[in-house]
Amino acid sequence: MMSDKSPSVIVMRGITKRFGSVVANDNVFFTLQKGEIHGLLGENGAGKTTLMNILYGLHQPDSGEILINGVHSHIKSPHDAIARGIGMVHQHFMQVPTFTVIDNVILGLQPFYRPALDRRHARQRLLEIAHLYGLSIDPDAYIWQLSVGDRQRVEIIKALYRNVRILILDEPTSVLTPQESEDLFHTLRRLVENGLSVVFITHNLEEALAITDRITVLRNGKAMATLPSVHATKEELASLMVGRQVLFDIPTLDLPDVSVNEVLSVEKLSVKGDRGSLAVRTVSFSVHQGEIVGIAGVDGNGQSELIQVLAGLRAPYEGRFFIKGREMTNASPREILQAGVGYIPENLEDALIPSFSLLENAVLDTHYTPPFSRNGVLDFRNIVRHARALIQSHDVRVPDEMAKAAVLSGGNKQKFIVARALARNPQLLIAAHPTRGIDIGAEEYIRNLLLQKRKEGMAILLVSTKLDEIMSLSDRILVMERGRIMGEMLREEATIERIGMLMAGSEA
């Protein structure tokens, strides 16, 4: 932990930033000390990234001032920020996939009038940096050949190559396996040992506690507190983040009777991804009535493709699947919905028409059936009744049903989507990342709703990258890694370590 006497390399004072009517940062005070890892903690939309984008020169604050090493500074652009020693690694990497690592690192550094690239010198420096900070990388590999973890290292090297002394990382672990995260943490410690300072943006409490020296919690654009990590507890941070106590108790579940009806059965399913390679490799499993089956895994290991096939949105390559004993392998989305499936897609945007009112969105998946239409004409009396019922019974916060879907917050959108899917009374619910990117209140509500539906006998297939969600909701857990199911376990047998190993591709 840093002592308070360490000099502040960055002081952000009274930072306010508005986007239209939304206040993204509200009079925020933030300091970064030399040689510390400073966690910036908050829910999605709390203003963490905005604050750091201001420091990185991507946004200009509406008011407030920034001091770098005690000097007032106007950071006009990222170029300006890098010149002052501030680097940032975004969630989306800024890389040219058809270039090599080394070319990406030196991209933009050499004046255009110097025709030949000095790769020899660059390689030497790159390797020195990589060695010093424990960043293993092949300088001649092409970006497209690299894993996400490698690409993140390239991004860090890029910043270090430009002599930054302050490194901002935006949700760096969201794309990494637990093991890759450990490597990253190791690198970050090396960085601060060498006198650099790191800002670590995250919404993950445990990570924040594990890696940082101090934590600043943001909520609704305001800085709630800055506290040393060693004195902080999970519960305290969580209540700062959401403004109230959050219960981390896992509800006890009675065991489902798996001898009863099998609702979904998947047999040796293989699916090709967008790049034409197999994204799902001979996967078999089943989901029974009254059971939640959770699929864990790092994003991008075939979960999306699997779910899309089950929803009829993508053709399988090999294998079959059955819903209530009926083969639905090549069925259309409509046939699958009508076979009794509710579907919560992984992206909110795939479930709502932004320019439509909630009224019209309420029947997106049912408008072509009675009582919402007859003889091809919509029956708005029934649609209004239905939309109001969805909004009221699930506490969706909107002025009224005529509001456009685009104006809802993420949490309210998702509550609405889940409500709509459940209103069909499906026998199988496919829920892909149902709580991703939404506030804790809505998250809690949706989780409880899933548990309640399970109790009522619904079969639920849950895909999530959040281990706590998988472990607290699922009766059975499957772990996917590179398109295969690496392991299957009952909830009682599951530990974070075991799932983490499987997610990283090693047999437990």
């Binding site: 509406d62 929803a311 949105l313 945007e349 479930a351 932004p354 997106l364």
Partner: protein, 352 residues
């Protein structure tokens, strides 16, 4: 100070973006006329006199108004068709060809189907025009959903094919041997759309088009297919996830869209020309794109934008005669409207 200005313009632009789009359409028109006025002044004429002559010619007499409306009619029908297609994000720029295809099919039915009562013959003539247009729209739609072929290219290229086919027919099989020029014989009288306002060319097709605009408004907002057209255009993925058969919707949308453009051609042949003429559409199919966009793809508003463009077409000559302002000034106004409409559309999309 600078920051104040930046803040002020920022506030302004955000207000600008919140402006209702009908108001922004009106501002676009106003601005276009202002820019047109600059050109008129540069020529040394009086904008007030020029615009006065234009308005008088377009709306100042029963006959002038009738002439404006019969020009608005094909613009409105094709504009409605384009609005439907664009709602589904199918960028049909083949309305011109569909107008010609509709005109040819209508002419053939109107020329050769003898012995029918007037009502039946007119109905069949217009129906033939719609089928002709729809046929031309069908293939680009099919190629789009089956093979992913860009519809802008296929619909545009088909325009030239059809226009050449019409030229061939008028030089060959359909040519009126009695006439020295390349026109077909007159349609049978039973295939002529009746005149509504006496001593003018104001025909029944105008009322039909306005009625269709209201019907299509209802269709878009109140029917299942209308809902699916809008949903498929606004968010294709979400529509698919919701069980909408997007490809099927696109095919039907384009059939309706091109049938309306075909009807525009049929109405022009059966209501105004009474025969097939080689260049019977002075680019109605292209102008209708601007009509649809200025009307913001809202059928009822497309009525007004079609009348505006028709008034410009109709009043241009009068303006040239009365105020000595050359016709191309009108093209400037049209051009400015199109550019500004395009800008406002991209601005809206960009800000969303």
């Amino acid at each position: 100070m600078l920051q104040k200005i930046v803040l002020w313009t920022h506030k302004r632009t955000s207000n600008w973006q919140q402006m209702p789009d009908w108001l922004s359409s009106l501002l676009v028109i106003l601005l276009a006329f202002l820019i047109g006025a600059l050109f008129i002044i540069a020529i040394g004429a009086s904008p007030l006199a020029a615009y006065g002559a234009l308005l008088r010619a377009a709306f100042g007499s029963v006959n002038g108004f009738a002439e404006t409306m019969i020009k608005a009619c094909p613009l409105l029908l094709a504009g409605l068709g384009i609005s439907l297609a664009y709602r589904a994000q199918f960028w049909n720029i083949g309305a011109e060809g569909q107008i010609y295809a509709g005109g040819v099919c209508a002419a053939i039915v109107g020329l050769y189907l003898h012995g029918l009562p007037t009502f039946a013959h007119i109905t069949l003539t217009l129906l033939a025009g719609m089928i002709g247009g729809a046929l031309l729209g069908f293939f680009p739609a099919l190629f789009k959903v089956r093979l992913g072929v860009n519809e802008m290219i296929t619909t545009l290229m088909l325009n030239y094919v059809v226009i050449q086919v019409v030229a061939y027919l008028l030089h060959g099989p359909l040519r009126d041997q009695a006439s020295g020029i390349t026109i077909s014989p007159q349609l049978l009288k039973s295939a002529w759309l009746p005149i509504v306002v006496e001593r003018t060319r104001f025909h029944l097709g105008v009322l039909l088009a306005v009625g269709l605009a209201l019907l299509i408004h209802w269709f878009i907002y109140r029917t299942v297919l209308g809902y699916q057209i809008r949903a498929s255009g606004e968010n294709r993925r979400a529509a698919r996830v919701g069980g909408i058969r997007v490809n099927w919707v696109i095919i039907w949308t384009v059939l309706l869209s091109s049938a309306l453009a075909g009807l525009a051609g049929a109405v022009e042949v059966s209501g105004v020309q009474h025969r097939l003429v080689e260049d019977f559409s002075p680019g109605y199919g292209y102008l209708a794109i601007a009509v649809a966009l200025l009307g913001n793809l809202e059928p009822v508003r497309v009525i007004f934008s079609s009348i505006l463009f028709a008034a410009l077409l109709n009043g241009a000559d009068a303006m040239q005669r009365a105020a000595a302002v050359p016709v191309p000034v009108i093209y400037v106004i049209e051009g400015v409207v199109i550019v500004l409409v395009a800008v406002s559309i991209f601005r809206r999309k960009g800000s969303l």
